[in-house]
């Protein structure tokens, strides 16, 4: 016999089995009991929350041959044929693939005919927001005054895309995301019934990863059970999801607390070796820091996931050790990193840089960061950094030109400043630039050939110049002049006359056992 996926096998067959949507089950049961079933329903909510399941239950219930209080009975021929999906009176239509006016006209023609077997013809239109505008208009009239033997159930994940005229003709029910606990309980029930061995922490991780969607949680469980016999523990689940374990987050937080750059780098090295996804790691770490912040703000009553009491203790420990300002700063930084990873894909570099900055919040040569004015009086001023694993910060005299790597860092600070001061247009114009020091102490902004538009805008727009000058002055602590050039006009970066000195060239030479050939 063919295998049935867990989410299909465990699809609720009665209203009492529906999890986490009590407000809907009770209302529909009462409507059935008092024979006050509406002619059209709109079920909206995130994926995997039970919209189609409840639609099928309702289709069964209105056609069930049992007494009104016991519907659906799952024993009568009507219930059986609808459960098996063979009843001609219950039609499920996918509006994503039948979205045109012709399909709706066809449906409109069919609704006139009486049901073949049972009391009501039920049309379940899934993903109804995908219908075209003329299709909606064609449906409107039928929805407004449908024949008495017809029940429409529209399901959608995006109700805001539906015309108000359609919404107002339906009784609308909003399905909610499910609570982690409810999902965990249901998974436990499935695991028990299957006689499988899955640890509670693994179930909790699956429930959390499903983001309130029961179908996703059951699919994850299905995958885990398919991995093999034996005990499924949290490590296996995290491995499957590409997530780092909480021990990694704990270690990183410990390094942040102790300002132990060595430990931080070692842990990141281990994560790289394990081949974990950097974006997932950033998101997981943000979540962990968020939980610490919540424990700090709300104490033992913090609304965090505490499936394991020891976790709350660890979070409490970090909450005491990390100042609130550092937590906010860390969360904001990681949010930026996550966005940058999505855009550039350079996960390791970005996350490493951000975490090192967080472990040593005062950047060499930058002084103590000033908190935003509105909360300045309330925030704790970060203590001076005590980097234990790294070299002590060197104060760079303003007259001395920074080294190339340092210049890169300073340029990142300039870009950060532009972003924070909402100069998004200038920021975007400077995004493709490579920077280098010119011979005449000018900062060279070099654009590649394909960024001609950016280059010409930067050359012509005086306002852009002013904004950049101000940002450079703030970061470098002195006025810095700059020159804009294309790739062909680029001067060789100062101090890099010998190409062998360039680390990238050096690495390429080593890797490919190459030699330098001077071009004409």
């Amino acid at each position: 016999m063919a295998y049935t996926a867990l989410y299909r096998e465990w699809r609720p067959q009665s209203f009492s089995e529906v999890v986490g949507q009590h407000h809907i089950s009770r209302t529909l049961l009462n409507a059935l009991k008092h024979d006050q079933v509406s002619h059209a329903y709109l079920f909206s909510g995130p994926r995997g929350t039970g919209k189609t399941t409840v639609a099928k239950l309702l289709a069964k219930a209105v056609n069930c041959l049992a007494a009104p209080g016991d519907r659906p009975c799952n024993a009568c021929p009507a219930c059986n044929s609808i459960t098996a999906g063979v009843s001609v009176d219950v039609q499920e239509m996918d509006a994503a693939s039948n979205r045109g006016i012709d399909e709706i006209r066809d449906l409109r023609d069919r609704v006139r005919y009486l049901p073949v077997e049972y009391r009501k013809k039920v049309y379940i239109i899934d993903e109804v927001h995908m219908l075209t505008e003329p299709a909606f208009n064609a449906l409107l009239k039928t929805l407004e005054e449908p024949p008495k033997h017809v029940l429409f159930i529209l399901a959608t994940t995006e109700p805001h895309k539906l015309p108000a005229t359609i919404v107002s003709r339906c009784q609308r029910f909003d399905f909610h995301r499910l609570d982690i606990k409810l999902i965990t309980d249901r998974l436990q029930q499935v695991v028990q019934a299957r006689g499988a061995n899955v640890t509670p922490a693994a179930l909790w991780t699956m429930a959390k990863a499903s983001e309130g969607a029961m179908r996703d949680a059951l699919s994850l469980l299905d995958q885990c059970l398919a991995m093999g016999a034996g005990v499924v523990d949290v490590g296996e689940v995290q491995g499957m999801l590409g997530q780092a374990g909480e021990d990694a987050f704990e270690d990183i937080c410990r390094a942040l607390v102790d300002r132990d750059l060595g430990r931080l780098v070692r842990r990141l090295e281990a994560i790289t070796a394990a081949g974990q996804d950097w974006r997932q790691l950033t998101l997981g770490l943000s979540q962990y820091l968020r939980d610490i912040l919540l424990v700090k703000l709300c104490g033992a009553e913090a609304p965090v996931d505490a499936h394991d009491p020891a976790r709350l203790d660890v979070l409490g420990h970090f909450a005491q050790a990390l100042p609130e300002s550092q937590l906010y700063q860390a969360l904001e930084t990681l949010a930026g990193v996550e966005e940058a990873i999505r855009r550039t894909g350079r996960g390791r570099l970005l996350l490493e840089l951000a975490l090192i900055k967080l472990a040593a919040p005062v950047f060499p040569g930058e002084g103590v960061p000033v908190p935003p004015p509105e909360v300045a009086q309330d925030r704790e001023v970060p203590k001076a950094p005590i980097p234990t694993g790294g070299t002590p910060p060197r104060e760079t005299p303003p007259s001395v030109r920074p080294a190339r790597d340092d210049l890169q860092c300073k340029w990142e600070a300039v870009m950060d400043r532009l972003k924070k001061s909402r100069q998004m247009s200038v920021h975007a114009t400077l995004q493709p630039v490579r920077v280098a020091w010119g011979e005449d102490e000018n900062l060279q902004l070099v654009y590649a050939r394909e960024y001609d538009f950016h280059k010409s805008r930067m050359e012509q727009d005086a306002a852009c110049h002013r904004v950049l000058e101000a940002a450079l002055r703030e970061v470098f602590g002195r006025p810095v002049t700059f020159k804009i050039s294309g790739e062909e006009g680029m001067q060789a970066p100062a101090g890099s006359c010998d190409p062998k000195a360039d680390p990238v060239v050096k690495l390429a030479l080593e890797l490919f056992d190459g030699e330098i050939i001077k071009g004409t």
Binding site: N30, L294, G336, K419
Partner: protein, 342 residues
């Protein structure tokens, strides 16, 4: 110009005019008014024969108006989606419809009541037809009802179905549905089904039934202004679980804080809640809550609160931060503002 709500309340007592031109955004009110006109004009039992419905402005509708009705009483001729209040020099269809109506208005038929429904929210006062209809007192605005009117509507709707709707539950539903009567009725239908055989519909039941989505944003603002982090967090998570968009939550918080700011300024000028309610166009009980909230959060902290919300809004809209995290952080920061004040 008579308002639909007042006309509806006095329909049974007054003489029905030969023509009504209805417009405005409140469609449920328009439908209720049409039902009331039909009830008063048409003899019971003759509705099938004497209520005639047209779409648009066909000349036949005037012919129908001049035709004597079947049996006793009068006839109601309905013209839905009429273009009579349409404007523009090149709108010949609208000009034709206006011309026909003005000619009919000069000599209306004694056999019929002509009800014209226009799909426009406002009547253009520059149009001659609008001025003439106003003079004839036949132009009826189906505008949004006030909160008090909507609450009364909700209470009467529930009473008509044998239920007693508590005042706070009525306010909760009306606020959540933003005074749209059609939505209010739908939510009440759901609430009544949820409650089952219970006669009294309470606020707890309205909340449990999930009636009036969106109203929890007000609960969130209350928790935020009180600095109650646990409560704010729990309401926020509930809203997010319900699928409320984080950007929408930020917007609603900002809107509510704007009201608090206005209230704080009015309170500082010595205005009482009733006066505040009049100025801000909110019901008195809402004004009372606003006065309380404004006193709790303190005017000095409001600029910082707006800055926090602005940052969250920019972070969400520019993709700088995951939207869920942005709204969570903003909520916590807002709560902290209050805690720091203490």
């Amino acid at each position: 110009m008579p308002r639909a709500m007042e006309l509806l309340r006095s329909m049974e007592r007054q003489t029905v005019r030969p023509v009504y031109v209805l417009f405005g955004p409140e469609h449920r009110l328009r439908d209720a008014l049409i039902d009331a006109i039909c009830r008063v004009v048409v003899e019971p039992g003759w509705e099938e024969m004497n209520v005639v419905k047209f779409s648009g402005d066909p000349p036949e509708c005037y012919l129908m108006c001049r035709t004597p009705p079947f049996g006793r009483g009068r006839r109601v001729v309905l013209c839905m989606d009429s273009q009579v209040l349409g404007g523009g020099r090149k709108d010949t269809a609208a000009a034709q419809a206006q011309d026909l109506l003005l000619r009919y208005l000069a000599q209306p038929s004694p056999y019929s009541c002509l009800v014209i429904s226009c799909p426009v929210d406002r009547a253009d006062q520059r149009l001659r037809v609008v001025r003439l209809l106003e003079e004839a007192e036949t132009l009826v605005e189906c505008g949004m009802p006030s909160t008090t009117e909507a609450m009364k509507w909700a209470t009467e709707y529930a009473a008509g179905r044998g239920k007693r709707l508590a005042k706070d539950a009525a306010a909760y539903i009306v606020e959540g549905c933003q005074r749209r009567l059609g939505d209010v009725e739908q939510e009440l239908d759901k609430l009544m089904l949820y409650a089952g055989d219970t006669k009294q519909l309470t606020l707890q039941e309205a909340r449990a039934a999930g009636a009036a989505r969106g109203v929890q944003v007000f609960e969130l603002t209350d928790a935020v202004t009180a600095g109650n982090e646990g409560q704010a967090w729990s309401v926020l998570q509930k809203l997010l679980r319900q699928g409320e968009a984080p950007a929408m939550i930020v917007f609603m918080l900002a809107r509510q804080l704007r009201l608090l700011w206005q209230t704080a300024r009015l309170s500082a000028q010595g205005k009482r809640p009733a006066t505040v309610a009049g100025i801000l166009k909110v019901p008195v009980f809402v004004a009372g809550r606003l006065v309380e909230g404004a006193a709790t959060i303190g005017q000095a902290r409001l600029p910082a609160a707006f800055r926090i919300l602005l940052e969250a809004d920019v972070a969400i809209k520019t993709g700088q931060m995951h939207e869920r995290q942005a709204v969570e952080l903003a909520t916590l920061k807002l709560c902290r503002l209050r805690v720091q004040r203490q």
